[in-house]
């Protein structure tokens, strides 16, 4: 992650008089309302009460769609990371405590979390007694020293995060399981890998240099197909035997379902929540929208993907078959709050254009990463 020069003086300097945080993003057209909220939160003071029919409402983890985020993706902590790397843990903790009353700026997962809250607000209106909501848990390796600063930051940004685990250096995996985590987002690919190995959907998030503005009213989640929603079986054929063999294989097995990939379950959870909106007549303006963005081609290899989704009873609102064309421009149009891909090449490409992309370190692509095409005409090397 690049160190943003705007952070030199600490986040305090970038907070304007009325309490809005311009964050560390260059462009003042932030991803969330420029007026923060209509209430203009003061640090540590006003808290939106999360009330439903006369009480604070905490969903049971197994009923909710639990999203676990680490502090490094929810907020921007590059400066503090540097202190840790250069001066060690004791200095790092001291620094955090000294800056306790300075809220962190929003990180790559922040717009996503805000969008989840928007969906929750609407779900609560339609189904006041239901526990089928998004539940956001902050899961961090950090020591509890950083706790006060994190809580101050959550208060400052008026986030609805009441559950967190500060493991003080121990592995968070057990806690992810205890919370029935449906998706884990972290800045650390090792932890993400560990989570995937334990069967928990997970991805590494990266901060785009110039993030493009995303919707405040609709949660948009985009998925790559192979090795994300589906297994990497076809990816393997392609890597081992090339594009022609891949097409052949897909044609032959057109009616054989692909095996599932690490994020299939998460798409499923989104689908369940979408159906709740449809049931109340909100199909057209559903606040959740999903996209499949795949290098497969609509005419041929894409069929197998669609048939598989259909057989699983899943669907995405839009399916974009790029037939090998670069994904960047398409993602720019979609403006997802998060885009999942198994190949760093695509994640980096997306981030360069301002899309918030997350890497799913799963499957054969991790062993044999994408080779940049030698011949510009040969777009078939990109998948």
């Amino acid at each position: 992650m690049s160190l943003d020069p705007g952070q030199d003086t600490g986040t305090a300097a970038t907070i304007t008089a009325n309490g809005d945080s311009k964050g560390a993003w260059e462009d003042p057209k932030d991803c969330y309302e420029s007026g923060a909220t209509t209430k203009k939160p003061k640090p540590g003071m006003m808290r939106r009460a999360r009330k439903v029919e006369g009480g604070i409402f905490f969903p049971k983890p197994e009923n909710a769609v639990t999203i676990a985020v680490s502090s490094r993706v929810l907020f921007r902590t590059e400066k503090e990371q540097k202190v840790f790397e250069q001066r060690g843990i004791e200095e790092y903790l001291k620094y955090q405590v000294e800056h306790e009353n300075e809220p962190f700026a929003p990180g790559p997962a922040f717009p996503f979390v805000k969008a989840l809250e928007t969906v929750n607000a609407q779900l609560r209106e339609l189904y006041p007694d239901s526990e089928e909501l998004f539940d956001i848990v902050l899961v961090t390796y950090n020591h509890a020293h950083v706790g006060v600063r994190l809580i101050n930051t959550i208060n400052y940004h008026n986030l609805f995060i009441e559950r967190f685990c500060m493991t003080g250096g121990s592995s968070p995996i057990g806690y992810l399981k205890a919370y029935h985590t449906n998706l884990y987002l972290s800045a650390d690919s090792e932890k993400v890998r560990e989570a995937l190995e334990e069967g928990i959907a997970a991805a590494t998030m990266f901060m785009p240099e110039k993030p493009i503005a995303v919707s405040e009213t609709q949660l948009r989640v985009a998925f790559d197909g192979d090795a994300v929603l589906f297994s990497d079986e076809s990816e393997r054929i392609f890597k081992a035997h090339g594009l022609d063999k891949f097409f052949e294989h897909e044609k032959e097995h057109e009616n054989k379902l692909l095996d599932h990939g690490p994020l299939k379950g998460f798409l499923e959870s989104l689908g369940k929540l979408q159906k709740k909106f449809y049931a109340k007549g909100q199909r057209l303006n559903c606040p959740i929208r999903t996209y499949l963005v795949t290098a497969r081609s609509a005419a041929s290899s894409g069929l197998r993907a669609l048939k598989t989704l259909r057989a699983w009873g899943l669907e995405t609102d839009e399916a974009l078959f790029l037939a090998g064309a670069p994904k960047g421009p398409m993602l720019e149009k979609i403006k997802p709050h998060i885009y999942f891909d198994d190949q760093m090449f695509h994640v980096e490409g997306a981030a360069e254009r301002g899309t918030i992309a997350a890497h799913v370190p799963y499957g054969i692509a991790q062993k044999y990463p994408h080779q940049k095409p030698v011949d510009k005409k040969d777009s078939s090397t990109s998948k």
């Binding site: 049971k60 509890a144 208060n155 009441e162 967190f164």
Partner: protein, 299 residues
């Protein structure tokens, strides 16, 4: 007072004015066995039942074994840093069985396992509180929630010895404090009320905060002898029923008392058992909250 204090000849006595004295129930330390348990329930004056087991055969290891091993590890590391360290754990065993045969069996068991138990206190139930007092006990531990509850009712700091999975951690002593108690305030009382806690319960939580101070302060001092990483003593804060601001309040309060906890968890009403099973504390100091009655079952 009818209490019998037996010094452990195998353990160097610590200065109780400087050491952190913790009393542990003998039921927790050893598997006292069915026949003996039954015996303890009856009036102590009855003649001893015929035992099929030799009097000096050591009892089997109890749930508190990982705890005592971890405590020994902390003491060892403290002395490694400073051979003249006086701030050490001083564990004494409390037993309400006063029959001489059982007493010697308990002492011999401790010797057999080479446990760092400084003293054994054999006293009847009615002398329990007075004995804790006279032995400068800062915390009473038991695996029995009723025993813990009784001690708390008598105004004595008491905590649960949590049953760890499998073999249990022995290289680090893990101490858990309740954020609901430590972060308690008038604002937070309202959240607890909404979740079904009664006024007497709230009152009891409010006083518990003050009762925790002494123990937390000493643990804080001990914790500071070690660096942030590689410490044999690890402290956790767990907040279950009150929101994150209670946790922040608790963290600041503990910091004010000199204790910077290592780990912190906020559950916001999520079931505790799976989380506790991950945390695996030895000492669960939450004023019996995890076992609170009349609160919608969380576990």
């Amino acid at each position: 007072m009818n209490a019998n204090i037996v010094l452990n000849p195998g353990v160097k006595q610590k200065d109780p004015s400087r050491a952190l004295v913790i009393a542990v129930s003998s039921h927790a330390m050893f598997e006292l066995g069915g026949e003996l348990k039954l015996h303890l329930q009856k009036v102590k004056q009855e003649p001893e039942p015929k035992s099929t087991v030799k009097d000096n055969e050591p009892f089997r290891e109890g749930i508190a074994f990982p705890f005592i091993k971890a405590v020994q590890q902390v003491n060892k590391k403290l002395l490694e840093k400073n051979a003249n360290e006086m701030l050490l754990f001083d564990v004494i065993l409390f037993s309400n069985d006063v029959s001489p045969a059982s007493q010697s069996r308990v002492v011999n068991s401790a010797l057999h396992y080479d446990l760092e138990i400084g003293r054994f206190c054999f006293c009847s139930d009615k002398d329990f509180a007075a004995s804790l007092q006279s032995n400068h006990v800062k915390l009473f531990l038991s695996t029995d929630t009723d025993e813990v509850g009784k001690a708390l009712k008598e105004g004595f700091p008491a905590a649960l010895l949590y049953q760890q999975r499998g073999q249990g951690t022995t290289d680090t002593l893990r101490v858990l404090f309740s954020g609901d108690v430590l972060g308690f305030s008038d604002d937070m009382a309202h959240f607890l009320r909404e979740q079904g806690f009664s006024e007497p319960q709230l009152q009891s939580i409010s006083t518990a905060k003050g009762a925790m101070k002494e123990f937390a302060t000493v643990i804080g001092e001990m914790r500071r002898r070690f660096g942030r990483e590689g410490s044999p003593l690890c402290t956790c804060l767990v907040t279950v029923w009150t929101p994150r601001d209670a946790c922040a309040g608790a963290l600041k309060m503990l910091r004010g008392w000199g204790l910077e906890v290592d780990e912190a968890f906020c559950l916001a009403g999520a079931p505790q058992s799976p989380i506790l099973a991950q945390i695996q504390p030895h000492i669960l100091y939450d004023h019996g909250l995890h076992n609170a009655r009349n609160v919608p079952a969380q576990c």
